[in-house]
Amino acid sequence: MLQPSISKARKSLKQLAEEYELNVDPDALIENLSVGHQQRVEILKALYRQADILILDEPTGVLTPAEADHLFRILDNLRKEGKTIILITHKLREIMEYTDTVSVMRRGEMTATVKTSETSTEELAEMMVGRQVLLRVDKAPAQPKGTVLSVKDLRVVDRAGIERVKGVSFDIRAGEIYGIAGVAGNGQSELMEVLGGMRAGTGSITMNGDQIDLTGKHSDGQSRRARGIGHVPEDRHDEGLILDYTAWENTIFGYHRDEEWSAGPLMKNAAIIREALGKMERFDVRPPIPSLKAKNFSGGNQQKIVLAREIEKNPDLLLVGQPTRGVDIGAIEFIHQEIIRLRDEGKAILLVSVELDEIMSLSDRIAVMFDGKIMGERDPANTDERELGLLMAGIANEPDKPDWQAVEENLAAVEHGEAPKNG
């Protein structure tokens, strides 16, 4: 009974998909599609229901650059058709390249609405935070010294028995920032967790020449800290901070067993509060009230609390995961400067970020992770977004078809547990 209407729907879906270059097969199962593909199904769904307004909330967060480009080409076609598109994004570049009008929201209010052609990224950034912001990161060339961290053939198998990190090897030297780019979920988090002592792995890791434990009771966060590894975790809400703890309690989190803060089994709360106040002033945490709970600070200020704690401990190696996720543009500037300052003091820094811009502007060497492996290392001066974007989908050579298609085939293959088709 439903047959006629189903075939009718299929026909019009196919037509729509073709018309807008969505490249969606109506009969494919959603679980078999890559994230970028799934997103296009969502768009198709909206078109099928004859939507005139399309709202996209951070649509490129989990896409490789090639997929993002493809998405924006589709959106461009829709705009030409007379559809209205509302794009919510934190990436100023997307705003400048693809939009006609831009509004800035700050603290729940629309602070400005301007024509995109009549504004600039600098002006937008200023409207977002209310002061001038330095968008470029200024840094001197790295002067790397001896090897601090050496990872060899690291493998991580998760609880479900799936291999998340498949034999990763790299070295980081003192005084350099080693950036790992990649779409979220390609093993970067697991790599960081092993280094930070939150997860077991196999392989060999040496820190300042000493072998470190990857399993057992000497592989926890305390042992890592004792070896001079600081860790700014990817998830500050659940890991880096205890949100219900006050700011001062958070400024020693992880280092709370240090002699400095101990008086027998008790803690020197007064001394910790003094220290917290100093850290908050030095890192410009607002408001600088140590007794305020961590959950009452904005994302940027929360991240500054974490950074103050980890950087001021002066670690030999600092692990930094997604340092600017959910952080306002003004705080991003500050956070980037602090990371570079630590590098210039001769410390080794491992930076993991899904923001390609961030990786490219901060790193002294860039590795790209895809499907649990490092696809290659590049010098940021001699690479571009397209090359890194293709590496993020496991494509090292020039593809023989449009970029986005090659990328999508590889991602879908990995999703199915097969080998990527395009090398």
Partner: protein, 364 residues
């Protein structure tokens, strides 16, 4: 910002909940044809207006402080220890063994010994559930409640066999040496001209309970271990990040919790019964949950809530003695208090939060 000031959370909400519970209780008393005003007067008269009434109230409160603290400590690690009943029974066994088989020269030493025995046995009874939770993921609520039954059965077995003196028909241990008897409030505070606390069972272990409150406060808010317990309670992944061992926190906080629950046996077994009896916990293990809930897991709150519940216990006994209101009704009133302060917390909290938000907006 927080939605309302701390004092409102700590004082206003329990107070309103309590008034609501009292109001409903009044309706129930009306419904069975008695006067609620008279009943309330009788409860206050019996529990608070005479020193002997206070002696009973504080005796019950002592039990509730220990079991309430036990629940509170475990709760800071986000574990719901509802095995206070069983842990207290084992604590009783510890007290009995200490008092029956060790020839202490003085009651102070006997008290020290039974305190150690009670805490050790209570902690031991919490160890296995804690281990199972930490290593095998068996839920602490299930295991601790099962351990209550095991403890009751064990006590039964011991009291009709091993510990029962020859020739006795009663399921109870032999009387402890009279020199081990703990000084009651009457012994301590009454003078020939001013006979205070006559016949009341409150004894020196009330001060042990106060010391336990101080201990728990120091532990949770001033010590490194307490910092780790609370951190683990708020976020397990956070604890992992900081290198805090979950296994250690679960086991240690449950040991402390079980030890505190066990300590109530010093009050009931050595302080009052002076022998080990079957119903030595008097249900205090479960009341402890309500006490911790109402006391917001803070030692001071637990202390106040324990005194309130002590008042309800003692006032209830008075009601049953002097009126036609059955003792069971007191259970209803207690249940209402628990219902309003614990389960229906949000019913009072949410409107109150809205009021405070509105007030703040008006100011700003």
């Amino acid at each position: 910002m927080d939605k309302m000031p701390a004092w409102a959370d700590v004082v206003l909400i329990p107070l309103i909940s309590l008034l609501l519970a009292a109001f409903l209780s009044a309706l129930v008393i009306l419904a069975i044809g008695e006067s609620p005003v008279e009943a309330f007067n009788l409860m206050v008269e019996g529990a608070l207006m005479r020193s002997s009434g206070w002696g009973y109230t504080l005796y019950y409160a002592t039990n509730f402080i220990f079991t309430g603290l036990a629940v509170a400590v475990a709760f800071h690690a986000r574990m719901f220890n509802i095995g206070g009943e069983g842990q207290a029974m084992m604590g009783g066994l510890g007290v009995a063994l200490m008092c029956l088989y060790v020839p202490w020269p003085h009651w102070t030493l006997a008290m020290l010994g039974s305190t150690v025995g009670a805490a050790a046995f209570g902690a031991m009874w919490a160890l296995l559930p804690a281990y199972l939770q930490a290593k095998r993921g068996s839920h602490i609520v299930i295991t601790t409640i099962m351990f209550n039954f095991i403890a009751a059965a064990l006590l039964n077995y011991l009291l009709i066999g091993v510990l029962k003196p020859k020739g006795s028909m009663e399921p109870a241990s032999a009387k402890f040496d009279p020199s081990f008897a703990l000084p009651t409030f009457q012994d301590m505070f009454a003078t020939p001209d001013n006979p205070l606390f006559r016949g009341a069972p409150a004894n020196v272990s009330f001060f042990l309970a106060l010391a336990a409150c101080l201990f728990v406060w120091l532990l949770i808010w001033r010590s490194r271990l307490g910092y780790e317990i609370r951190a683990y309670g708020w976020s397990q992944t956070g604890a992992k990040y900081a290198g805090i061992s979950g296994t250690k926190i679960i086991v240690v906080s449950m040991l402390i919790s079980g030890g505190l629950a066990g300590l109530m046996a010093v009050n009931t077994t050595q302080g009052e019964a002076e022998r080990l009896i079957l119903n030595m916990t008097e249900g205090a293990g479960f009341i402890g949950i309500a006490v911790a809930l109402m006391g917001r897991n803070h030692p001071l709150g637990v202390l106040l809530a324990a005194i309130l519940f002590g008042f309800l216990y003692q006032g209830g006994a008075e009601l049953a003695l002097w009126t036609n209101i059955p003792r069971e009704l007191i259970v209803v009133i207690q249940a209402l208090v628990i219902l309003f302060t614990g389960a229906l917390d949000n019913m009072v909290r949410m409107p109150l939060e809205r009021i405070f938000l509105a007030l703040r907006r008006k100011e700003g």
